[in-house]
Amino acid sequence: MSKDSLLSISNLTVKFGGLTALDDVFLNLESNQVVGLIGPNGAGKTTLFNAICGIVEPTSGKLTLNGKSHDWPATHELTSLGISRTLQGVGLFPDLTVAENVMIGAQKFAKTGLISAGFGRNKLDEEELRGRAQWALERVYSGSLADKRADALSYPDTKRVAIARALVSEPKILMLDEPAGGLGAQDIEWMNGLIRNLRSEMSILIVEHHMDVVMSVCDELYVLNFGEVIASGSAETVRRDPAVIAAYLGTGVA
């Protein structure tokens, strides 16, 4: 494990009843590194994300954050640990505006208590949250969407806003679950650019089936199959690994 390891996981096992979704999995993420997680459907990628995010409870396994051993976090404390995540199904709040959606991610910066808020003493807070939200939206080039309702967005825009909501808490680790899923060629290109940009400020853990994206942004890849890590290493070595080709890539992907 290198010195500037931000997050590392070892011996992670997750079972659902009789089904072993993850089996003795390890993973290491360093500062300003983009790590890709690939593997066939149902291999356990999202489950791995869920374990890190406290959405499923690991059967066993260890987590290290910033070089220190840490309990598996509860979901709601992730943002304070500097971790943000987007969901495979986007997961915006449809009846909130875009700005409000993003502000939700920034609430850890608010200070006003309930009673004072009730008497209108939260103006500064609100301004700050809104400012941060606007800033995060601008980072994904969606500043003009702020006042739209989230359910009125086009699909690519929902993806942008979801990323903005993750960015607004100023994470050190950004976890993206299929950011390119469902996007057209141009938007995928755009997403590539964004991820590369963000890399200078944070580490990124990414699950993706789009090989173009994976290959162009990831420094390192982990390949899961049936809950086990079958290969890991630089993108180039992994893509030539025959086991990976057989289980996941197929021959069609050049």
Binding site: C53, I55, T75, H76, E77, L78, T79, S80, S84, R85, L87, G91, L92, F93, P94, D95, L96, E100, N101, M103, I104, G105, Q107, K108, A110, L114, A117, G118, F119, G120, N122, L124, D125, E126, E127, E128, L129, R130, G131, R132, Q134, W135, E138, R139, Y141, S142, G143, S144, L145, K148, A152, S154, D157, R160, R165, S169, W190, G193, S200, E201
Partner: protein
């Protein structure tokens, strides 16, 4: 005006109410006081259901908690009136927090069932312990209006003033809370709890908080109701009351506070109207006894059918139709943003 200067608006409301209370006859003043109480109770349900997405069919029971606390305080310690109301809020809030702890784990029909059971279970607790005065309840007497208000100042006007002062303060406060990060978090949790939790919201705590505040407001309404009828007993807070509140919330439109007045007025006025109609058309015993129920229920069904989100939302929706969408700018720009003393930049 409400958006820009809420305080002024509320003060304006207060003055209007004051003027009104001087013109109305006593019966209307009494009914007006009840309207004020329902405004608070319905608002508390709107907060809970419309914002935090939790259903309660047992709000009557939470009202009772507040009312009993107030009455006990008044009887045993002869506490000043304002204090009894504060304690009513606190006591009901504590009850609501406990209930909320259980409720946070439940959803939809399970929650409805639990609160329903509470509504029938709680009154029987009052029967169990003699301190609560059993079926006969406790009298809750706040005394006569201060002599300084003059000879003509009737008891009901006093009730009216107290109810509406409480209602205005509660609504002012609640409106702000709902527009703050708290209200926003409730709505977020309601529509996607996993996403909300990932964004840093403690979902359980958030739901309990909603239940607590809602219960506190309900407790206030309960104590006020006890005040206007001078009695706190299980019969004052029957299952029917809980159902009426749910009705009122729907008539008001559960998703916005804007319609609470409508909901509250309808709850008070419908039985009156029904009676008037019944009396006009023959006034046979069967009609008089059954028509009010038929009208209230019928109206309720029509409302959910025709304007499920309430009259206010209906109006908003009509306005919103005109709004049109613009395209997002995809061109990367470098940008610096300044808010207060802080600066953010997309350029690093």
């Amino acid at each position: 005006m409400l958006k820009k200067h809420p305080l002024i608006t509320f003060i304006f409301f207060g003055v209007v109410l004051y003027l009104i209370s001087n013109r109305l006859d006593e019966l209307l003043v009494y009914q007006g006081a009840t309207v004020g109480i329902f405004v608070i109770a319905i608002a508390s349900l709107i907060l809970l259901t419309g914002y935090s997405g939790q259903v309660s069919l047992g709000h009557g029971a939470l009202m009772a908690i507040g009312a009993y606390a107030a009455a006990l305080l008044r009887i045993h310690y002869n506490a000043p009136v304002w204090l009894t109301f504060v304690v009513a809020v606190l006591a009901a809030a504590v009850g609501g927090a406990l209930l909320g702890l259980a409720a946070a784990r439940l959803s939809g029909p399970y929650l409805a069932g639990t609160t329903l059971a509470l509504a029938i279970g709680l009154p029987s607790i009052a029967n169990q312990f003699s301190i609560f005065g059993g079926e006969q309840g406790l009298s809750f007497d706040i005394g006569f209006p201060p002599a300084s208000l003059g000879e003509d100042f009737t008891q009901y006007k006093w009730y009216f003033w107290i109810s509406w002062s409480a209602a205005l303060i509660a609504m002012y406060w609640l409106r702000h809370v709902l527009n703050s990060r708290y209200g926003r978090s409730w709505r977020a949790v309601r529509s996607n709890d996993v996403a909300a939790e990932l964004a840093g919201i403690h979902v359980g705590r958030n739901k309990v908080l909603a239940f607590t505040i809602s219960a506190g407001l309900a407790g206030l309404a309960g104590a006020l109701l006890g005040m206007t009828i001078s009695l706190v007993s299980p019969g004052v807070y029957p299952l029917l009351l809980s159902f009426s509140l749910a009705t009122g919330a729907v008539l008001a439109g559960v998703t916005t506070l804007g319609g609470v007045m409508i909901g509250a007025v309808i709850l008070v006025a419908i039985p009156e109207i029904a009676l008037a109609i019944a009396n006009r058309y023959g006034g046979s015993e069967t009609i008089i006894t059954n028509l009010p129920g038929l009208l209230v229920s019928g109206l309720l069904i029509l409302t959910v059918l025709l304007s499920p989100n309430g009259p206010v939302e209906q109006m908003h929706a009509r306005h919103a139709k005109r709004a049109k969408s613009g395209k997002a700018s995809h061109s990367p720009v470098e940008l610096t943003l300044r808010v207060g003393s802080k600066t953010w930049s997309t350029k690093k």
